[in-house]
């Protein structure tokens, strides 16, 4: 396939909820082996954009192309089938269920003939253990409940699950927002690994430093509009910060406090 065709491209995407205009002209694209950071403050429309890309919402107008072909998803399932996997903030993980059961939730491999068709849990356990091992998470026992894993580990399990099930594009919704320093670096490292595998990653965050650490390109979203996309070489970290916060005000506050916010 042509390397120049983006995995996902949206142009002038608009989404209205009744009289509320959530998105009013969003354009962005993500290519293979690229981490595209989507930056925006609270209320910028990040969640709506993610949910539109993930097939939860249908855009009111605008173009949505997957590998150059226009698509119209009607459910999250459609997006998944097209290779777009979304890791939500709540991770779509169930704390009371085992790591294995979570890993294969909704996509359990079955064997045997009806009515004796059952989930091949031995295979599931083996795969889970292996996938966890690959990303360096010490899952002593795949039957242990997800609730026993740390936040960073859960995030990595959620990403590993999406990768294992053949995602071409990963949409990560603020994967580092609730994490400590060590766990953040664990997740960022894993995002880098995923990029090297040739997947496209849309990394949503409002933390510029986390974005700058792994991002190749940055798209800034403000009040439902994209303010522009910049390569890493084109923009410095504090410029990005100002752009995201809408410019002047933050600069002023920052000076008042005597440093970077």
């Amino acid at each position: 396939m042509d390397q120049d065709i983006p995995l996902i491209e949206v142009r002038k995407l608009v989404k209205h909820f009744g009289s509320v205009i959530a998105l009013s002209g969003v354009s962005l694209s993500v290519h293979r082996g690229e981490v595209m950071c989507l930056l925006g403050d609270n209320g910028a429309g990040k969640s709506t954009l993610i949910k539109t890309l993930a097939g939860v919402h249908r855009p009111t107008s605008g173009d949505f192309l997957v590998e150059g072909q226009p698509v119209a998803f009607t459910s999250p399932r459609d997006a998944l089938d097209a290779g777009i996997a979304t890791v939500y903030q709540d991770l779509a993980m169930i704390p009371l269920m085992s790591v294995t059961r979570n890993f294969f939730m909704g996509r359990e491999p079955v064997k045997g003939v009806w009515p004796f068709r059952h989930v091949d849990f031995d295979h599931c356990d083996a795969v889970t253990r292996e996938e966890m091992h690959k990303i360096g998470i010490d899952v002593r026992d795949p039957h242990q409940a997800v609730g026993t894993l740390s936040g960073g580990e859960r995030q990595c399990v959620a990403i590993a699950r999406a990768v294992y099930f053949g995602a071409k594009v990963l949409i990560l919704d603020e994967p580092t927002s609730a994490l400590g320093v060590a766990q953040t670096s664990m997740v960022l490292k894993y995002i880098h690994q995923v990029r090297q595998k040739g997947l496209g990653v849309i990394f949503i965050t409002h933390n510029v430093r986390h974005a700058y650490a792994v991002g190749d390109r940055f798209t800034v979203l403000n009040r439902g509009k994209t303010l522009g996309t910049y390569r890493k070489s084109e923009i410095a970290i504090d410029e990005l910060q100002n752009l995201m916060a809408g410019g002047k005000e933050l600069q002023a506050v920052s000076e008042e406090l005597g440093g970077m916010v």
Binding site: I94, H133, T148
Partner: protein
């Protein structure tokens, strides 16, 4: 997809997996593994209750006849409790199952006596009616997003009321409908739903002096009541579905976090609707079993069974918040129930202690379950 890797790669990865497995399995203590089973509390409770009755009750309680006496009410409750447990794991309640027993009994009785349908057709039609009502319950809960507690509480009264009105209408003023047993006739279908099973085996055992018999050679217990067989089969099937199948995983997921489950592609609404249909059908099964056994039905059938079923499910390890529990636990919970309710009559205690015991047991089970959950999930 990762399943389509080369065979060679598969082999080597299988080996590494094996290694990892061996190295790490040792770290999981046997205790943790046992603690992780939700039915642990129910099993421990059953052992305790058995010890209590073995030391206080008349020895006749643990003869074959005594055990059948305990298991008969346990079976009727247990069929409801197992279905209720699955529904609770799926994150919902059904308070209408008790009333559903009465209503399904009326419907079944009416199909037999008023419509004169053959037994098989009447049974099938009763299950269809129950499924539709269960599905209605489920759809109302899903579409209105009201707590199932409220929706099914409404159905508790609606169905109980309909049973009374319907019985009076069908019988011309009575709240009891008789003659169902006689009209239903005999045959293979009848044997599946009433009487006892394994009569040949029991006769053989009596002939060889393994079990007690009357002087004329007839065993004192002629067989296992079919309700107990249904109970055991249902428990096995439910446990297998819950632990080994895709639907089982979906039930846990739907109850654990419906949003997360939906985002992962689990058809949560279908799973929940199916579970409501299952509880209604379990109620219909109990109705058919008891109606054919007694030959009649009345409006008080299944009275307060919804609470007993939920209690048995909770004793069996189900969390009230859903997403955790066990079908075999509900099986043990129902047996505890049967043992205590019948067992007290074998002791010198007043059998009204039953209710006190029940409440205490429920409280203990809930506390124990919460403790175990924190332990298992590392919740702080």
């Amino acid at each position: 997809m990762a399943n389509t890797t080369q065979p060679a790669a598969d082999l080597s990865s299988a080996q590494t997996v094996k290694q990892i497995q061996d190295e790490r399995l040792k770290e999981v203590s046997v205790l943790t593994k046992i603690m992780r089973r939700p039915e642990l509390g129910a099993l421990a409770g059953l052992v305790l209750v058995t010890i209590f009755f073995v030391s206080t009750a008349d020895a006749s309680m643990f003869t074959l006849a005594g055990i059948m006496n305990i298991l008969s009410p346990a079976a009727q409750l247990g069929i409801l409790a197992i279905a209720a447990a699955l529904l609770m794991i799926g994150g919902e309640f059904d308070l209408s199952i008790g009333s559903m027993v009465a209503f399904a009994g009326l419907v079944f009785g009416a199909f037999i006596t008023l419509s004169g349908w053959p037994l098989l057709l009447a049974i099938a039609a009763t299950f269809v009616v129950a499924s539709v009502l269960g599905g209605l319950n489920g759809q109302m809960v899903i579409r209105t997003r009201l707590p199932s507690f409220i929706v099914t509480l409404a159905f508790l009264f609606i169905l109980r009321g309909l049973s009374l009105v319907g019985l009076k209408w069908a019988t011309g003023g009575s709240t009891q409908m008789r003659g169902i047993g006689d009209t239903a006739g005999e045959g293979l279908i009848r044997e599946l739903f009433s009487g006892v099973a394994f009569e040949g085996l029991f006769a053989w055992l009596a002939a060889h002096d393994v079990i007690a018999k009357f002087p004329n050679g007839v065993p004192t217990v002629t067989g296992v009541p079919v309700s107990i067989v249904w109970f055991a089969l249902f428990a096995l099937a439910a446990t297998w579905v819950l632990l080994r199948t895709r639907v089982g995983n979906w039930i846990f997921a739907a109850g654990g976090d419906p949003n997360a489950a939906r985002n992962s592609g689990v058809p949560v609404d279908r799973v929940k609707t199916g579970l409501f249909m299952l509880t209604a059908c379990a109620a219909a099964l109990v109705a058919i079993l008891t109606v054919l056994d007694a030959g009649s039905t009345d409006a008080r059938r299944g009275f307060q069974k919804e609470f007993e079923a939920i209690i048995a499910a909770v004793i069996g390890g189900c969390l009230l918040t859903g997403g955790y529990g066990s079908a075999i636990g509900a099986f043990f919970g129902a047996i505890i129930f049967g043992m205590v309710s019948i067992g007290l009559t074998y002791t010198r205690f007043d059998s009204d202690w039953f209710q006190v015991f029940l409440g205490a047991m429920l409280l203990l089970a809930v506390l124990f379950n919460n403790f175990i959950r924190r332990k298992v999930t590392g919740e702080r």
